[in-house]
């Protein structure tokens, strides 16, 4: 085994054991950031020792004993609350003498502590970037270097971000607290937001990039599964898990052999992961059973589920999708959701109904430079046979498009609309099936 192999093997054990280590230490020290730091010391000790001795038979117990040792040392040094903690420390010393067996270690129920850990890492006081880095480090056991690679950032930037975030938590007295009652769902939304941010960072990664980037999707899925198992009563946690499982189910179908993205309606549905779709649909059902059918994530998941459950693009239940978009638009006022609703309505009721919504959005200042607005408008006009206007809209969209590939595609569509302006072609184009979205 090379040194690099040994290093990777140790990190793998570490990833499995780390949540239990941090939560145990946090309970002892009443301080999550400090617990994280001392747990890292245990990892460093393993990285020094194990390449020579080999991975011990019970690596989890070894790491736990080492980490607790550090915690005891720390408590001793600080002499916090004097005698009382001396007694705790003495008890812990004894505990270490009898190293827990493997199955004994499995008895620890760390649910509540893990929830505290996640809530601390994703505290709304921290920037969302800092929350993402802390969560990947403390909950998923990624190293700073791995997080940096996944986010295409220099390692020093991420390291600094983590140090600052931990300092902020400690200085604000937030190192060890769990919100209850009304605070819980408010704080949960801050956690879900970070999990979804991590997922999307991975989902937008291009093919051929460092494998750690797409891996972010799996880390986010893992975190959401953790959340749904330790906070099973929270419908939006299930809703987010559903949304991510359903989106991730299309991973293999999203790009062609040349690495070019394929639009959902044009994808080969045989490549959609049915196993993952089932998990997504099950999570969505749980969200609904908990009364969360109208939640922000659950509604988006419901829309994707309509696509996932359609055997062919033509079989898509557009009226149902348009209904979910209407619910979503009523819950969250967002011009982008409204634009998506326009597309769904045009598929359900025809291009004129969609165009009415889009024309309304033309007055929306937030979408002034958003190329998809004139692009969708051009498509609807084209389907209505209004080719002159369609051409103008596609030209406007091309001028706003940020990337070359999209710019070229919109220019092509403008040319198509121009060519369709002759009366005979325009009649033919008007009845053409619209599957371009």
């Amino acid at each position: 085994m090379t040194a690099a192999d040994a290093h990777r093997a140790i990190l793998a054990v570490w990833r499995i054991e780390q949540p239990r280590l941090i939560t145990s230490l946090a309970r002892m020290l009443r301080d999550v950031p400090l617990a994280e730091e001392l747990t890292q010391d245990a990892l460093v000790a393993a990285l020094e020792r194990w390449p020579a001795t080999g991975v011990p038979e019970r690596p989890g117990a070894w790491l736990m004993a080492t980490a607790k040792h550090r915690a005891v040392d720390h408590l001793r040094r600080r002499r916090m609350l004097e005698r009382k903690h001396e007694m705790i420390a003495a008890e812990m010393d004894e505990e270490q003498l009898t190293m827990p067996g493997l199955d004994g270690a499995l008895d620890d129920d760390i649910g509540d502590e893990l929830l505290r850990l996640i809530f601390t890492a994703c505290h709304p006081l921290l920037s969302s970037d800092a929350r993402a880095a802390l969560a990947l480090r403390m909950i998923c056991g990624l190293t700073t270097e791995e997080i940096a690679r996944a986010f295409l950032q220099p390692e020093a930037t991420i390291a600094q971000r983590i140090v600052r975030a931990k300092r902020t938590l400690s200085e604000s007295g937030l190192a060890y607290e769990t919100p209850h009652g009304a605070g819980l769902s408010e704080r949960l939304s801050s956690v879900l937001e970070v999990v979804y941010l991590i997922f999307n960072e991975g989902y937008t990664a291009a093919c051929g990039e460092d494998w750690l980037r797409p891996q972010l999707c799996n880390e986010a899925l893992r975190m959401a599964r953790v959340l749904t198992s330790i906070a099973p009563q929270e419908p939006e946690a299930h809703g987010l898990l559903a949304l991510m499982e359903l989106n991730a189910s299309r991973t293999a179908a999203r790009i062609d052999a040349a690495g070019e993205p394929i639009l959902m309606l044009d994808q080969n549905r045989a490549l959609w992961d049915q196993f993952q779709i089932r998990r997504g649909v099950q999570a969505l059902e749980r969200a609904r059973k908990l009364g969360g059918a109208g939640g922000f994530y659950a509604l988006q998941a419901a829309i994707i589920a309509c696509h996932a459950e359609a055997g062919t693009a033509a079989a898509t239940d557009w009226p149902r999708i348009a209904g979910f978009y209407a619910e979503l638009a009523a819950a969250v006022r967002s011009p982008i959701i409204e634009l998506n609703r326009a597309v769904a309505v045009s598929m359900a009721e025809g291009p004129a109904a969609g165009l009415a919504i889009v024309d309304h959005l033309m007055r929306e200042p937030a979408l002034e430079t958003y190329h998809l607005l004139p692009s969708v408008r051009g498509d609807l006009l084209h389907r209505l046979g209004r080719h002159q206007e369609a051409r103008t809209a596609f030209e406007a969209a091309a001028a706003l498009a940020g990337n070359r590939r999209e710019h070229d595609m919109l220019k092509r569509r403008a040319a198509e609309a121009a060519a369709a302006m002759s009366p005979i072609r325009s009649a033919a184009m008007a009845v053409r099936k619209s599957s371009d979205f």
Binding site: L11, A12, R58, D103, L221, R225, V226
Partner: protein
């Protein structure tokens, strides 16, 4: 990366309750950690059957199969970061067998799922 763990053994007869309990706890922990996606135990081979193609002809064979050595007893599907994590996980699982089922011999084979798509 998705992995399937396949547990094989020549041993017949039920495992000791302590092992079953420990394996359930481990499975529970792995599900809660978001890593284990699915798992299941299989009924004895004797209750199964095989459909084979031999000499270009289909034939159905009912169990038991005398020639079978190691028999698949169960499987689990995991979503893991990579082979190292799969090895760490399978080692932990097999260590439980070593500790709680003296004399038992067997294999936990781990296989990555082939990627779908282009």
């Amino acid at each position: 990366m998705k992995f399937m763990f396949i547990v094989k053994s020549a041993h017949v007869g039920p495992p000791p309750p302590q092992l079953m309990e420990a394996v359930h706890k481990l499975a529970d922990r792995e599900i809660k950690a978001g890593r284990m996606l699915d798992n299941g135990g299989l009924m004895p081979l004797a209750t199964g059957a095989q459909v084979r193609i031999i000499d270009g002809r289909l034939s159905v064979l009912d169990g038991p199969f005398v020639e079978a050595k190691e028999v698949i007893g169960g499987y689990a599907v995991f979503e893991l970061q990579g082979k190292e994590e799969a090895l760490a996980s399978a080692t932990e699982f097999m260590q439980l067998h070593k500790d709680l089922f003296p004399g038992w011999e067997g294999t936990c084979e781990l296989r990555a799922f082939a990627p779908m798509g282009p």
